[in-house]
Symmetry: C2
Subunit: 521 residues, 2 copies
Amino acid sequence: MSGLRTLSISLALALSCATALAARAADSPRPAYAWTTTEAFDVSRVPAYAGRHDAVYARIDADLEAHVAHLQRWVRQRSISAQDDGIDAMAAMVADDLRALGFDEVRQVETPGHPGVLGYYDAGAARTLVVYMMYDVQPVEDNWRIDDPFAGSLVENEHGTVLMARGATNQKGPQRAFLNALDAMIKTTGTLPVNLYVVAEGEEELGSPNVGRIFEPWLDRLRQADGAFFPMNIQRPDGSASLNLGVKGIVYFELESKGGAWGGPARSEVHGSVKSLVDSPTLRLVQAIASMTTPDGNTITIPGYYAPVTPPTVEQQRLVNALAAGADDAALQRSLGVSRWIDGLTGREAIVRDLFEPTLNVDGLWSGYTGAGMKTILPHVATAKMDSRLPPGLEPEDAYRMIRAHLDAKGFDDVVIRPLSGYPAASTSVDTPLVQAMLGVLNKYGAPARVSPWLGGSAPFYQFTRTLGLPFVFGGLGYGTGAHGPDEFMLIHPARGVKAAGLADIEKSYVDILHALSEVR
Amino acid sequence: MSGLRTLSISLALALSCATALAARAADSPRPAYAWTTTEAFDVSRVPAYAGRHDAVYARIDADLEAHVAHLQRWVRQRSISAQDDGIDAMAAMVADDLRALGFDEVRQVETPGHPGVLGYYDAGAARTLVVYMMYDVQPVEDNWRIDDPFAGSLVENEHGTVLMARGATNQKGPQRAFLNALDAMIKTTGTLPVNLYVVAEGEEELGSPNVGRIFEPWLDRLRQADGAFFPMNIQRPDGSASLNLGVKGIVYFELESKGGAWGGPARSEVHGSVKSLVDSPTLRLVQAIASMTTPDGNTITIPGYYAPVTPPTVEQQRLVNALAAGADDAALQRSLGVSRWIDGLTGREAIVRDLFEPTLNVDGLWSGYTGAGMKTILPHVATAKMDSRLPPGLEPEDAYRMIRAHLDAKGFDDVVIRPLSGYPAASTSVDTPLVQAMLGVLNKYGAPARVSPWLGGSAPFYQFTRTLGLPFVFGGLGYGTGAHGPDEFMLIHPARGVKAAGLADIEKSYVDILHALSEVR
């Protein structure tokens, strides 16, 4: 989820500016979206959640030390999906914790990959929420700031007391905090304000290839829920929050050119000097990739690629107008080590580009000799890893079809596309009761959210919005950073002056969210 | 020298065919060379060398066992230049052997790299020859056919008894055979028919970066010589020979795009989804490379790049006409694992393309994530290794200047060119006495040569033709193969039916070459 978090900051910081896109539209496949409203979404008009659940809050405060220990227990259990390290034990820990909370049904679901966990808590309530969890984490590198990224250490830093560990914020911390909130509610009131499904997977860091399989046993039941929720720390130290209501889709593929009947060396590399007579698979791949963008690499020239994107709705325009009013492009550029955006874009133009246009990116590229000095060869194979981010409307199968058709039309029919992933975008309307409940709770805790219709990053959340047909919200109070990095942490006890919530308030906000959802009329 | 040998076969096999180039000329920067003669060079019209040096030949036959032992002694001495393994000992062995032969002056020349050896044998003769030697060899891989590539083993194979070892044919075998021939002459007649300089370097396999430094102490003396000679096995098993009268030049460089003031991530990779707003150095490099060729990767679009090439002279046309008459494109394509030449070329058209046009080749290319599976990053740097082979007329500094100007004109002024090498072509006229002497000797031994004005491969032989201003010939009887490979060998005693010369005839032919040169009027 680190990509999601980075991009969420991206949008939150974007500058206000409204240079027209129209000037470039004439000679570019890039669409010029009509902008029909200057009105901006105003999060302060969402009423702060007014409910009080003091007995539960008190219980959270009383049990806080034990609650911290639960987070520590989770991060101490290794669960590196890429290395199959601790996976089964962590899946069992999730299932055991759900049983301990009083979930009526808990089952492990086998998949072709790592197992999932399904749980159901029947509160006899009118409303039902699906809670998505990922129990896996990224591998750890040698450069960790503390001796043991799995020690569950509490560390003091400029933000206060933090839990520094792999998985602290991505995603064990907020998830176990959510279970702590359930525990406090159940212990205090004997039940929950909504019925709860938990769907936990152990392959999020692998791209969630099997999350759909985990749904299967209960697919019809899950579809009857009122919404889906993914606990996440979305505050920054200043207390502000970024709520993203969706994600882009993606196609991720390898593109490969290899010598064969069309020409080029088929068996192995040949001497570089025979380029005079022998076609180069490397140059062929380079030309194939080059044919897919304008010379600046920034406009996709695949015919029809921009056309299916759904233009900004009035609701989305209002969200973008609000984001543009509070944006700071320069700060985000600094954080990325980038001196400028493409075409010198700023403000609303940059936000629209980020949200409403597909990308085409080369993630990796290799061919031939890559060592020191000189080796004169004509390589027989060249490969690229590429991805394209898909806004709502542009479906992955259509993206693949257009890329293939383009390569064929340009004479690159021998260039192979090897799909590694492909899924569509997901987005949830800001007007849904679940989102309104979330915004109201954030307002209650003084964490007004910058709301984006989605972010530029990708996650297979279409499984919730499309397969299950549910509004899907990922968020919550709390601050954490360093996901996938050597200093991942989640803030537990904020230092004086730090406005982000500590663990107790995070848990209280989860209590409020469930109640807010249960109170929707 | 393995590239040279491969290409020499290339030319020897090329098919006869003369489809006009003119049709494509109109819309291509590719020149259409006027072909003004259909006459073909006829090597059989060069008189076979008629001299007989029976006493020397008898001495060679009598000493043959000791001569083989000298070759074995040379290959047993490791001299891997890339790994500085045995270099000093091998340089000393060369110098000691020259002294033992009676060279008057022998000195080691220090360079910034491995040392060179200079030797002079004053025969009081009218003519003087410079003999170039390389005493270094390529590294050895684990997959060698015999236990020890430095054992100097005599092995039986389908060609007869061969010396199988690293350096056997590239280039210790033919070089020490040449010294054996000198030894037989000196022991028989007390002197040599020509004065001899030996210039030996230990960095040929590194691209000869310092061979010019080795000349320096004797530069004026070397320039007074009548020609330069590099002993080499140029026969094939059927006895035929390929004599190449030169080499193309080369520029070898790295091309790199890195994020910076122009855009893109300057510090490190960023998340792939920000391609929406961040320029991609990888796509920029791809576009820069793509801009240098037509979409098929086979015609260079750098303005002016073909223009400086010297068009085929009548002499060169006659050589090409002869090559075309005896060529076999399909056989060479099979040997390279290639199904067709560029544009379906064959015969003379293919030979002209190979000899008279510069190439542009990508030797290697890398950027970003190249491991298994998916990693979604926007890399901050992308690098290519590229080379361009330069026919006579196209100078390396002009090639670099045009590449830079082209990139600048296309807006890629931030794309860095890092030159790793650059030197011009070298060629010697077939009419020079040294070449005529060589051809006459080859005819004497029933090894009529297919003669090419140069080959598509590169070597810094301009040091002889330009720095020293000498005709330069590389060749001689004998068969060897596997240079740089795990089964390098030189044929010592041919099996029945194999027409390539054995060691005794190789040495006798060297005797004849020196005499033939001394007899030129």
